[in-house]
């Protein structure tokens, strides 16, 4: 502990912490609570039983009442500890409860049923992570279908986007041809046309191409991105032309040069773009909401949204589903955090 403390309070070159350092650390720790706290709360809540979720005020950790297996009873009985009367301190199993009175039995003596006031019983509880919320997702909902839809869209769209964008970036960085400036301007022009402002005509085009209510209707329209082209082009420009010339001397075709030389050498930039694309597609909402209207085509995001829209929100399932939806992104974040940060900083978002 003291080592940790000295690590945290050590300063670089200065003797001791200035008051502004204390304020800074205070702010940052508040930030950690504010940024991570809600997610931690979500995850803990998702492991609570429906009864526990209804409880107000809520408790921090998920609890579940213990049960007793008592001879002569088919199902386990809820365990209580008696707080008043002659049985004080005894652990009992409850068989029935009505009108403020409870019928209980002692584990040692299952034959005798004892009636005592219900308010003298305190439940015996223990921290328990209920997994029913998760397992019920697979039983009651078409969770795997939603998961598959999301995965299919994400993987296909990312692959298509990487191929199409790197082909364009290759030519725009390594070829001198008439019209190159015009094409570059065109690509910049598309920056000004976000999907949100062309929803109606885009819907017509996608419908006319027979992609309404099809996963391809979500995959194809977003496959060419100006961000992707620029990010890759910026990187490919730094690849020396001599390598290409040498390959041409050896009679390599242009396609071979592209995928044997350019693509492997631009791997870092392609990786960054891939991560961004996965994130965009996995989290995409508005366009899928318009194109996919049948439940069996829903992505996870759409399914989440539609379940919470129902009159009585089914929080136990919803919480578990939310956790499973953010899980892949959280994993990507943990392992590839550094790339994501540089990628986003260098492209300025979408």
């Amino acid at each position: 502990m003291s080592r940790l403390w000295s690590f945290l309070t050590a300063t670089r070159g200065r003797d001791r912490l200035h008051w502004t350092d204390w304020v800074s650390y205070g702010y940052l720790i508040f930030g950690v609570l504010l940024m991570f706290g809600p997610v931690v709360w979500l995850v803990l809540s998702s492991f609570k039983s429906p009864n526990e979720l209804d409880r107000f005020p809520p408790r921090f950790l998920p609890y579940a009442q213990e049960t007793l297996e008592i001879e002569g009873f088919d199902s386990p009985l809820l365990a209580f500890i008696v707080t008043e009367g002659e049985l004080t301190g005894e652990v009992v199993g409850q068989t029935r409860r009505a009108a403020g009175r409870a019928e209980v039995v002692l584990p040692a003596d299952p034959e005798t049923r004892i009636r005592i006031p219900a308010d003298t019983l305190a439940p015996i509880e223990d921290v328990a992570f209920a997994t029913e919320n998760y397992t019920s997702l697979f039983e009651r909902f078409n969770f795997l279908q939603f998961f598959w839809n999301s995965t299919f869209i994400t993987v296909m769209a990312t692959a298509l986007m990487l191929l199409v964008n790197s082909m364009a970036a290759f030519v725009l960085s390594k070829y001198e041809f008439r019209g190159r400036t015009a094409v570059l301007l065109l690509v910049i022009g598309t920056l000004m046309i976000p999907q949100t402002v062309v929803l109606v005509p885009l819907f017509l085009i996608v419908t006319e191409m027979g992609m309404f209510n099809s996963l391809w209707g979500v995959i194809i329209p977003g496959a060419a991105t100006p961000t992707g082209v620029f990010l890759l082009r910026q990187y490919m420009i730094t690849i020396p032309d001599e390598i290409l010339d040498a390959a041409r001397m050896d009679k390599a075709s242009e396609w071979k040069i592209f995928w044997r030389i350019i693509v492997p050498l631009s791997a870092p930039a392609i990786a960054v773009l891939a991560i961004l694309a996965i994130m965009w597609r996995w989290n995409d909402f508005l366009w899928p909401l318009i194109v996919l209207t049948r439940t069996e085509n829903f992505t996870l995001q759409l399914a989440l949204n539609s379940f919470q829209g129902e009159l009585q929100t089914d929080w136990p399932s919803l919480l578990a589903m939310t956790v499973l939806t953010l899980l892949p992104i959280a994993c990507v974040f943990m392992f590839l955090q550094k790339y994501i940060a540089t990628g986003i900083a260098s492209t300025g978002g979408k």
Binding site: A10, R12, D21, S24, Y25, Y27, L28, G31, M35, V39, W41, L42, S45, P57, P58, V164, M167, A168, V171, Y175, E176, F177, I188, T190, I193, T196, V197, V198, L199, V200, F203, L204, I205, T207, I220, P221, G222, A224, S253, E254, W255, F285, L286, L289, I290, Q301, L304, N305, Q308, L318, L319, T322, T325, L326, I329, V332, F333, I340, I344, G348
Partner: protein, 322 residues
């Protein structure tokens, strides 16, 4: 992975090689560009043109040939107002409510977000321990999907949620947050700032770290106070980055939809209905589907975005050259 990719690439090579022999290397460039350009044309430029057709035609048919020409009627409907400051006096009052909500939202959201992002970036730029950790903590919510962000906060803010439990415990008493218009709007701004702040913090931090050290050393030599150093060195040198951040935040703020739609559904009433939700509801969620109005509203939004994007490109260019 390679096992799938390599054969695919080999197959593509056959027609590409044929085309290369046929066209020559320079004209082959267009073959490489073709998929991208076709996609851009089909899903970006063609829609812009079609949008104009939609905006000038009526009825709820999606096929253009079935839509009668109505001239500027959709725009007249949208802009027919007794008093632009009062949405109730407008024919399409929902549109103007959405416009005013969006303006308020963007002002508050961008203001708070850039303010807190700057504060966070300044603190992260100090000599602190575990900077990487703290940076990624603030960045983490950026990766969450809008629906997840909405649900996380809805769970906290619900009537019997943890925030109300805390307020009850302190004696303040809980509030039914998402049922009261002003609170719902306030929380919408809050979750939007919460979710996107990290992104701008990252850009501002990069901007701060690009300021040369020796300028600060010179300031120390001159015994400049911390405040004066901040005002006279940090702020002016950070100004270009600030401008980029501001314009980017505005472009995204105007297009806010996902997280607020999942969070409040635009309600209570129309308290948190923004302009993109208006377009979505007129064009796709309601019956009849008023594609004309939706397209006309889209064109108005597009106008704003084009101006903002041109400013962004101009700022970027100036930053690169300057």
């Amino acid at each position: 992975m390679l096992r799938i990719i390599t054969p695919v690439m080999r197959v593509i090579e056959i027609p590409m090689l044929a085309l290369q022999r046929l066209l020559g290397i320079n004209r082959l460039a267009w073959v490489f560009l073709a998929p991208n350009l076709i996609l851009f044309g089909l899903f970006a430029f063609l829609p812009v043109i079609l949008n104009i057709f939609y905006a000038t035609t009526g009825s709820d048919n999606v096929l253009l040939s079935d839509r009668p020409y109505v001239g500027a009627r959709n725009f007249v409907t949208l802009t027919d107002c007794g008093n632009y400051l009062d949405a109730n006096s407008c024919r399409e009052d929902k549109f103007w409510r959405a416009v005013w909500n969006t303006l308020w939202f963007v002002t508050l959201q961008v203001g708070f977000m850039v303010g807190f992002a700057l504060l966070t970036a300044l603190i992260l730029n100090r000599d602190i321990r575990a900077r990487g950790f703290f940076r990624s903590v603030f960045f983490f919510p950026v990766l969450l999907s809008p629906v997840v962000v909405a649900l996380i906060w809805k769970w906290i803010l619900q009537r019997e949620g943890v925030l109300n439990a805390f307020l009850d415990w302190t004696g303040v008493g809980g509030v039914n947050w998402l049922v009261q218009a002003d609170w719902a709007f306030g929380w919408s701004v809050f979750i939007s700032v919460w979710a996107h702040m990290g992104f701008y913090t990252l850009i501002l931090l990069a901007g701060l770290q690009a300021i040369p050290r020796d300028v600060y050393e010179a300031a120390i030599m001159d015994r400049a106070s911390a405040w004066r150093t901040f005002r006279r060195i940090t702020l002016p040198l950070l100004a270009p980055t600030m401008l980029v951040v501001l314009v980017l935040a505005l472009i995204k703020g105007v297009q806010t939809f996902d997280e607020i739609y999942a969070f409040t559904g635009g309600g209570p009433g129309t308290a948190t209905t923004f302009i993109i939700q208006y377009i979505y509801e007129e064009g796709f969620a309601g019956a009849p589907r008023l594609f004309g109005l939706a397209a006309a509203a889209s064109l108005l939004v597009a106008g704003v975005l084009v101006v903002l994007t041109l400013i962004q490109l101009w700022v970027n260019r100036r930053n690169v050259n300057g």
